[in-house]
Assembly symmetry: C2
Homo-oligomer: 345 residues x 2
């Protein structure tokens, strides 16, 4: 009796941190009351997951598999139970917001059809292992629409879902289908709906990029041109808390207790660019870093595909708390984590 | 300059009535301010659309095409612009609620992948005809969840969408994708979200069947066993009004005015089985029909796959009214229509 954990999108920002955390664990919950030894950890990605720590890769349980999420045979192979009693899949792979907006067809293929492909393969495990297996899918609060109601009410798991971007629409479809696949008893699905994970190293074509660039670039000593207003609150999450929540969602949380709606809005707090800039300056002083300068510029001078911060300003994360998930989201901790991981490593 | 109208699912209850109505028209709106002669009406279905009137089939503009909605080449052919300036597609084809619940995979194939296939083919028309073509998709208020909020608030186009049945989830995904395809400028999509169309002849594996059987069976002189409580309000629509609304949605309604959310909840009123039974008895008297008796039985004695009326009790149709769509939903008219169409024809 042991569990095989498959991380899809192991090379991404959240994926790599998750893999590092999993490698530190001996056991994983396969139900609220039962844990099993982790027998194998599969790191699946389209390219070499170089962001995963050396120590993780050196773990005898860890195996890297490269392939295409939309390829059925590849997915069946990577999810094969072999001689394990449980297979737990955690799905982080996605084409992010800006890229999915630029290349609609590729976004639809990876984010919708690819995810359905994975769900179908997890569904096949039910016959092999005798019961529905856990599938944790990572979604995003982009599924919610920036309509008048959501501007003035925090987004919840029950908020209207007509995203302003294709990425969010594709994620919303998978959320709905996952709940239905679970209701039908095919899989034991859970959705971790993330708010923006700030602190991705380098540039990315994400709507949220300025909320990252304003501290990552300046703390690396560069000046940064801010293409968005300083006072727009934007829900952000903490990488470390996200990872802890996803691991708890993968078995410690009682699926029955979640009911039909398997979506959980993971802990988030709304920060403005000003708040992030203030935190960056404080951390710079504490850590003895010479911080770069910022300059306000027009939004159309930025290089991000989506120019407008049109997500909802607040997220209600009370369901996560009620399910017993960790809830810590501290801005200075987020900034310090970047400094210690990428600058002072 | 003329328009080719393609009706997908022409043989169904709504499809056949729609085809009959289209054949009575010389022209169709291709925008709020422009009409074009109807040059061709394609009746597409998986089997011979025998419910379509003889007079309609005799119309020189009418062509019946049999095929599979999920077949890309078939869809490209049926939607081919030929020498027409506009192609307007009206999509009614679906695997209904009970059947989609019994055969999940077939429901997913027809209701989700089939609809995406059609949208992709309509999208290809943009290059051929120079602008996005109209695609009217028929959805259902099953997209809304029977949660506490929706039990006490009328369902709108912005209500939370986690349907209690697979059929509704599949429809919700298409609604979201259609809005996104439209936002991207690929198609000019509009969703007509129907409430139950009562009065389908014969038995059907639909959740709503008792709301039909209680008057269709008794007015045909048979006794009817009622497997649901008599006092549960259930949103119903009028076949004739639905058809008029779909035709207006197909061009007379201004897409720009609809904005990002292209869904319209078509006119519905909530009726209980008692109200329908009362109306049936009144119409029987007026029409000189000897009506059968009803008897209350347990719900599990019924033959419908879904046993519980778990849709939302009320639907808010104010958006339809604000767009200028017809709003008439009269219960006795609905019953009379059945009598004149199927009993006294």
């Amino acid at each position: 009796m042991a569990v095989k954990v498959v991380v899809l999108g192991a090379g991404g920002l959240v994926g790599a941190r998750l893999c590092d955390r999993l490698a530190q664990l001996e056991t994983l919950h396969v139900s609220p009351t039962e844990t099993q030894p982790i027998g194998k950890i599969v790191l699946f990605d389209v390219r070499e997951p170089s962001a995963v720590a050396e120590a993780t890769r050196a773990d005898a349980r860890v195996h890297v598999v490269l392939g295409d999420l939309t390829d059925k045979a590849a997915m069946q192979k990577v999810l094969d139970p072999e001689d394990f009693s449980h297979v737990t899949a955690i799905h982080l792979a996605a084409l992010l917001s800006g890229y999915a907006e630029e290349n609609f067809d590729l976004g639809l293929k990876i984010n919708l059809f690819g995810s359905i492909n994975v769900m179908e393969c997890v569904r096949e495990l039910k016959d092999k292992l005798g019961k529905p297996q856990v599938y944790v899918y990572v979604s995003t609060d982009y599924v919610a629409c920036f309509n008048e109601y959501n501007r003035t009410h925090p987004v919840t798991e029950e908020s209207f879902r007509l995203s302003p971007v294709s990425y969010g629409v594709q994620k919303a479809c998978v959320e709905l289908l996952l709940c239905d696949y679970t209701r039908k008893g095919f899989i034991d699905g859970r959705v971790g709906r993330l708010s923006a994970v700030i602190g991705r190293p380098g540039w990315s074509n994400s709507i949220s990029y300025p909320y990252t660039g304003i501290f990552t670039q300046t703390l690396e000593g560069k000046d940064y041109d801010v293409p968005l207003p300083m006072d727009v609150p934007y829900p952000c999450s903490s990488l470390n808390t996200d990872v802890l929540c996803l691991i708890d969602l993968a078995g410690k949380v009682d699926g029955e207790e979640m009911g039909h709606n398997r979506v959980v809005q993971l802990p988030a707090k709304s920060f403005t660019l000003q708040m992030i800039w203030d935190a960056a300056q404080e951390v710079a002083k504490e850590e003895g870093i010479a911080i770069g300068a910022i300059k306000q510029v027009q939004s159309d001078s930025g290089s991000t595909t989506v120019k407008e911060i049109n997500v909802c300003p607040e997220v209600d994360c009370s369901k996560a708390a009620s399910l017993g998930l960790p809830t810590d989201v501290d801005l200075k901790d987020i900034v310090r984590d970047y400094v210690h991981t990428y600058i002072k490593k």
